[in-house]
Amino acid sequence: MTKQEYTITVYTENQIGLLNRIAIMFSRRKINIESLNTSPSEVEGIHRFTIVIHEVEEVVKKLVRQIEKQVEVLKAYYNNNEELIWQEMALYKVSTDEIAEKVKVERLLREYGARAVVIRKDYTVFETTGHREETDKLIRVLEPFGLIEFVRSARIAIIKASRGFHEKIREFEQHEPSEQVIENEFLDKQQEVFSM
């Protein structure tokens, strides 16, 4: 098995300390978190972690089960890039003089779909949204024109096959949940998983 990019989506209660509890599951195994985002989810009061790592599926699978075992975690999923729609946002600060002087810069920014967020006499801040390669490319293009500052957000991702968490949460609130709440990829992909 080769390493590839996996996105782990974790639905949790909103509790102090949970970020640490989840983060140490990766550091304990010396796995680098490439990107981590926490946000509200489609269900009020339920938080959603989106974590990107580069690993082999076998490791990711075990890790997700360990994450799901944490008391405040409702559910954890992992997906490869084909199973997701995702975006990252990037901000670029460049000198306003440079842009004003060089027509080429303006053309480049248009080409990459960059949007001006702030325009001041001394600098201008542009924003782009897209995949890593796209936001990366613009850095390289802007570098010769004096990129003053750059920052990129964590990945946020939507699972293509997901039907959301509204139904699930109702199940979780039941004392005796139906079997589907307990299901995980072990059962979903039984044939694949059971091959010895």
Partner: protein, 579 residues
């Protein structure tokens, strides 16, 4: 599993709310949860709780230990012999950090513990206040759950959650850190309500009958099936269900160190212990069985040896309450999730009554080989020096297999677990997963409180005993009737054995000097004796067991004896060495 544990009582709700302090609310919660014994050590940040405890002495017995590590190991010993949640108190800062080893030990051995620590006032958090330490973040990796309380109104439901989480599903340690202001704060108390549901927490997976049917099919078709079991059988209080299963199935069964005593050691289907220093037959035949049925065990590396050569020929059925254990170390053919108290009877109902006389005989044949090479020289030695094995044999003979044996870590632990005889469950208390030296003496104290009617013998090496020797003070003060059996080989024996076998006998810092243990015990008012000759063993052991109250017996054994058989690290279980 929680269904089988004694359900906490919901305290009678007062008709109108009472105004009580956070500290009182903590103690009310303990009383409502059925706690009777607390192990602890006071200090500045937990003083309000100790102040309240002063008025609860009729309901709650507090055992003052000599070190917080001793406190938590005692709570573990208590939990292991009683099957209930062990409770420990410690103050903030160093008090709390001293719990960490015990928490890690309880985490890896799935022991239900509720640890309550004091914390500095909430307004001082993060200011490097006196005895402030970030105990929540320090203990996160070694707790099943932890939580910091800064407001007294949270205390009743947080403690209810703590007990529920600690004892349900796969049990584990929970730590609740309570700031001093919350302990002092008065609030309107509406009574205690036990917790039985947390929406984000599923203690046990729903039983899937289709998998049990698949498992039954595999078992019914098997020619050479083999059962291996761990502490899950004991934690699930499923000893009876397990016996019914193996007796109907007629399958030879071996235990992990943590599963030991779940079935009587002399049961006709019992074939011994698995693992690095386990028995010959169960290790070798793991790699020859056709269906391997693992019940409540987690395939520790000390059990499996080299993983890529572990039971590759076998179909594996794994019964566990923790779904994350399935496929963690060894690939499963059929997973059976759930509480084994529920799953085993269903499985037993689906299997055919069978016997495997030839297959069982193979275990007995290996046993015979092992007996000649390893067991006889250990149990009935002809050497001048005494062996650890003959001490354990003598203990078996005199206790009739009815004692609780608490072991520390090292050679004596392996010898005790190899040769001890047990007739009843919850009798073998040891630090299995973490291998914590210094565990036995304090754990034996707790074990005695958890099983007050049983004889508790702590078997300890000369090294481990010196790690928590201060708990002799606890034994003295609380008159705890534990028998301390020191097997002194004047070495850190297990490390020495490895140095001999794998490091060209370069004995690097394993030569440990000891004080006169009998004199030390005398200083604590504990009677004792030291022997070095075989002729004194029987009488000395008798004297220890018949002595009223605590007693220390030091047995000086051969200095350079080794524990065999042994699966050397990096070898497969089939490559187990008899010498």
């Amino acid at each position: 599993m929680q269904s089988t544990l004694s359900q906490p009582q919901t305290a009678a709700l007062p008709t109108k709310t009472e105004n009580i302090s956070g500290s009182q609310a903590v103690l009310e919660a303990l009383v409502a949860e059925g706690v009777k014994t607390i192990f602890g050590y006071p200090g500045g940040a937990i003083m309000p709780i100790y102040d309240a405890l002063y008025d609860y002495s009729e309901k709650l017995e507090h055992i003052l230990v000599r070190h917080e590590q001793g406190g938590i190991h005692a709570a573990q010993g208590f939990a292991r012999t009683s099957g209930e949640v062990g409770v420990v108190f410690a103050t903030s800062g160093p008090g709390a950090t001293n719990l960490v080893t015990g928490l890690a030990d309880a985490m890896i051995d799935s022991t239900p513990i509720v640890a309550i620590t004091g914390q500095v006032f909430a307004h001082l958090l993060g200011t490097d206040a006196f005895q402030e330490t970030d105990v929540i973040n320090i203990t996160t990796p070694v707790t099943k759950w932890n939580y910091q309380v800064t407001d007294a109104t949270e205390i009743p439901h947080v403690l209810a959650k703590a007990f529920y989480i600690a004892r349900s599903g796969r049990p584990g340690p929970v730590l609740i850190d309570i700031t001093k202001n919350a302990q002092l704060q008065k609030f309107d108390y509406e009574g205690y309500k036990a917790c039985d549901h947390i929406r984000s927490y599923r203690p046990k997976p729903v039983v899937r009958k289709e998998f049990i049917r698949e498992a039954a099919k595999l078992i019914n078709e098997a020619k050479q099936p083999f059962v291996i079991f761990g502490q899950g059988v004991i934690l699930g209080k499923a000893e009876k269900e397990f016996l019914q299963f193996i007796e109907k199935a007629g399958i030879p069964s071996a235990w992990t160190i943590m599963g030991m005593s779940a079935i009587p050691t002399d049961h006709p289907l019992a074939v011994g212990m698995l693992g690095m220093h386990g028995n010959y037959g169960p290790n070798v035949l793991t790699n020859e069985c056709d269906v391997l049925i693992a019940v409540g065990m987690r395939f520790d590396d000390r059990v499996t040896g080299r993983l890529d050569k572990y039971a590759k020929q076998a179909k594996l059925i794994h019964l566990d309450i923790d779904p994350s254990e399935i496929d963690k170390n060894v690939k499963t053919t059929v997973p059976v999730w759930g509480d084994c108290k529920e799953t085993l009877p269903i499985l037993t109902g689906l299997i055919e009554q069978k016997v495997y006389p030839q297959w069982l005989q193979r275990f007995r044949d290996f046993e015979l080989q092992e007996k000649e090479t390893c067991v006889e020289p250990e149990l009935n030695p002809t050497s001048d020096n005494m062996t650890m094995g003959e001490v354990i044999r003598t203990l078996n003979e005199l206790s009739g297999g009815n004692a609780v044996i608490v072991t520390d870590v090292g050679q004596h632990q392996m010898v005790a677990c190899r040769y001890a005889k047990f007739n009843q469950s919850k009798s073998n208390i040891t630090s299995g997963g973490l291998g914590t030296m210094g565990f036995a003496l304090p754990a034996a104290i707790g074990a005695k409180y958890g099983a007050p009617d049983r004889t508790v013998v702590a078997v300890i090496g000369d090294g481990g005993f010196q790690m928590t020797i201060q708990e002799l003070g606890t034994i003295m003060q609380s008159n705890v009737d534990v028998k301390i059996l020191i097997l002194n080989n004047h070495f850190l024996g297990m490390v020495r054995q490895w140095q001999q076998l794998f490091h060209d006998k370069r004995y690097s810092f394993v030569n440990i000097a000891s004080p006169d243990f009998v004199q030390v015990a005398k200083g604590y008012g504990i009677d004792g004796k030291s022997i070095s000759e075989r002729k004194d063993l029987q009488t000395a052991m008798q004297e220890m067991l018949h002595h009223k109250g605590a007693y220390l017996l030091e047995v000086n054994v051969g200095k350079e004896n080794n524990v065999f058989p042994m699966v050397p690290q990096g070898c497969s279980v089939a490559e187990i060495r008899l010498r």
